[in-house]
């Protein structure tokens, strides 16, 4: 234990490492917050500077960028309705309506505090329960990952929008987009039409920037003449009563975030969505309805996605399996620095494990500092004339997409998705499920096929496995519950019950 503490303290006592952690967190927040620059892109570009550095220096910067980037993605979600990262999709649902009501400062202040709180819970779990949680995650099989993917897409399809049919269409469209290219298991072409360009698949970042950046910019053009909402930034630090009120929700959401983040293949995106759903179901009387500026709808995903950072380090460091796209980039960087993320990392190089825990804790402290001090300048973004903002968003989206692989074809994809996204938004289709579908589609496809191969292609065995294994059974019940809750008569029953309760309260 003393050894662990001394390794932990290295990140705090070396001024150069402290400076790097601070710089990484600051860059992560602001790069993650720029529309068109995703946290994955920020991480991959910033990490590329570290390849020639010492391991500790590189890890300090990486920790800062990761913590700052996940948080930064929520700022554009709140201010512009453009999530900077998939993990901020759920934050836009209520964060943006809060900004429209002129409460951007309050929303960002609360987001910062809850992100830091969630971050500490995740790091604490990483430090205390890494071996236990990684053991639990190993119990998940391919069926469970398939179900987790389905639950993620179905949840975001049901959470907002005007009809479940449109949400389901959007999710399935995303899955279909992700299927374009060579099948990773058999190298057979899917929807490639003999084109070499299509064989490489469609990058999800191009889809994400197109659907969220370009499409949102075009939709905003319709309301160009509306005056920008002046943000009340008098109070940034949330009141003590607010903190007390949302404490238990933040704690529960952080728990969800940590566990979901610890599952290999799932990251902050699903964690945030599940936490949002949990908040929606567990909050009886929100001040504003969910989807129209409910504070609970912001607290839950924000504490969950930052808790998922600590959680995502668990499979990354103990199993060598990335939790999401960002951790996949980080694993690549760790290999370049000569580390071997996997079960032996804790045994062979415990100093690095504890150093990472120390760096993450320090980065979380810097997050509190930079998150609360930059709010006033940042909220000015929404007061910038839309006539200036919209063309800039399009240029940033184009350059952000191009920078992924220096490929102009990706920019064409972005444009196409932007135009499709515009019409989808106009006609009440949500674009969130499309992105979730694009990201989770390949994971669901491979796990479905593994599960089917495990059942030797027998459909009855395949279906029986969904009820005969405890974890799979619980997840199947959860999925069924979500689907059943969308049936028209269930919705009517819930509406009637709400109407009956309203006069009483």
């Amino acid at each position: 234990m003393p050894d662990a503490l001394s390794f932990f303290a290295i990140a705090w006592l070396d001024p150069w490492l402290v400076m790097l952690t601070a710089a990484g967190t600051f860059a992560g927040i602001y790069v993650g917050a720029i529309p068109g620059l995703s946290v994955t892109m920020a991480t991959s570009i910033l990490i590329s500077f570290t390849f020639k550095w010492e391991v500790n220096e590189a890890l300090a910067l990486i920790s800062g960028v990761f913590i700052g980037g996940v948080y930064g993605g929520s700022r554009t979600a709140i201010l512009l309705n453009i999530p900077g990262a998939p993990s901020a999709i759920a934050s836009a649902l209520d964060g943006y309506p809060m900004a429209q009501q002129g409460k951007a400062g309050e929303a960002i202040g609360l987001t910062t505090l809850m992100s830091v709180f969630g971050g500490f819970i995740g790091i604490l779990a990483l430090a205390l329960f890494a071996p236990v949680i990684s053991g639990f995650a190993l119990m998940f099989n391919s069926r469970d990952y398939l179900l987790l993917g389905l639950i993620g897409i179905t949840l975001v399809g049901t959470l907002s929008g005007e009809s479940f049919a449109k949400g389901a269409f959007a999710g399935a469209l995303g899955v279909l987009i992700s299927m374009v290219g060579l099948d990773p298991m058999t190298a057979e072409g899917r929807f490639t039409f003999g084109s070499v360009t299509l064989m490489g698949g469609i990058p999800y970042i191009a889809a994400m920037i197109g659907f969220f950046g370009v499409a949102e910019a075009l939709v905003q053009l319709r309301q160009l003449d509306l005056p920008a909402v002046r943000q009340k930034i008098g109070r940034i630090l949330p009141e003590w009563s607010s903190i007390k009120r949302y404490f238990w929700l933040a704690l529960r959401s952080s728990g969800i975030g940590t566990v979901i983040g610890a599952l290999p293949g799932t990251g902050g995106d699903i964690a945030a969505l599940l936490a949002y759903d949990h908040a929606k179901r567990s909050t009886r009387n929100p001040e504003h309805p969910f989807g129209r500026g409910a504070t609970e709808g912001l607290v839950a995903p924000e504490s969950a996605n930052n808790a998922a950072v600590g959680g995502a380090h668990i499979p990354m460091l103990t199993l060598g399996i990335p939790g999401d796209a960002v951790t996949a980039v980080i694993i690549g960087a760790l290999f370049i620095h000569g580390l071997k993320p996997g079960p032996l990392l804790l045994i062979e190089t415990p100093h690095l494990f504890w150093f990472i825990v120390g760096s993450l804790t320090l980065a979380n402290c810097f997050l509190l500092l930079f998150g609360l001090t930059g709010v006033r300048i940042f909220t000015r973004i929404v007061e910038c004339p839309k006539a200036v903002m919209i063309p800039l968003i399009i240029v940033l989206s184009a350059v952000g997409t191009y920078a992924i692989q220096n490929n102009v074809t990706h920019v064409y994809w972005m444009l196409l998705f932007g135009l499709i996204g515009y019409f989808m938004k106009i006609y009440g289709f949500q674009v969130g499920p499309v992105i979730l579908g694009v990201i989770l589609g390949p994971m669901m496809d491979s796990n479905y096929r593994r599960a089917m191969l495990g059942a030797r292609g027998d459909i009855s065995t395949f279906l029986w496995n969904f009820v005969s294994h405890p974890i799979t059974f619980v997840l199947s019940l959860a999925l069924m519950g979500i689907l059943l809750s969308q049936l028209p008569w269930v919705q009517q029953w819930r509406r009637r019950r709400t109407d009956r309760q309203r006069p009483a309260t």
Binding site: I89, A172, F191, R222, P391, V411
Partner: protein
């Protein structure tokens, strides 16, 4: 996700849009079937077929459910929907869409900086309604910041186009 931006009633062209989606979904299902048919339940074509089927069925449901508004649905005052232009593609959006398409298509030949400069200047002049010099100054300042951020700090290689020696 502008979930309450646009109400479900009175939108022109929605049924046509959903009909296009139905045709697209049916074509996608056909193409998915061509990948491997029904040879095996674990073949590469099964998941694309499932996705296309969900698309087709949900698009049919959306078509059937349109344009009935959700019970009790209201347009809150002050939300974009309340002030929204009812046309699907207002002239301003249509013209900006043309600008964006030209911008993206011209990028490889004109290069990033020149192309972005022209796009930003044209867009600011059209949308901002301020004196030309203000649009020009804003364009130059934006380009400088973007160039410094992406080219100098992040070292992203951007398309140089015909003026390769000028913009590196």
């Amino acid at each position: 996700m502008s979930q309450q931006d646009h109400p479900s009633h009175g939108r022109r062209g929605e049924r046509v849009f959903i009909a296009v989606l139905i045709v697209f979904s049916a074509a996608a299902l056909w193409q998915a079937w061509l990948i491997a048919g029904f040879t095996k339940l674990s073949s590469p074509g099964v998941f694309p077929m499932l996705a296309a089927s969900v698309m087709l069925i949900s698009a049919l449901f959306a078509f059937r459910g349109n344009p009935a508004p959700a019970p009790g649905q209201k347009i809150p005052n002050g939300t974009p929907a309340a002030n929204d232009d009812r046309r699907v593609l207002p002239a301003r959006v249509a013209l900006m869409t043309v600008f964006v398409i030209l911008y993206v298509l011209a990028m490889p030949s004109l290069g990033f900086l020149l192309d972005s400069g022209l796009f930003l200047l044209a867009s600011f002049c059209y949308l901002w309604k301020k004196p030309f010099w203000m649009s020009l100054l804003t364009t130059l300042f934006s380009l400088l910041v973007i160039h410094l951020l992406f080219r100098v700090v992040f070292q992203v290689i951007l398309p140089t186009g015909v003026v390769r020696d000028l913009f590196l």
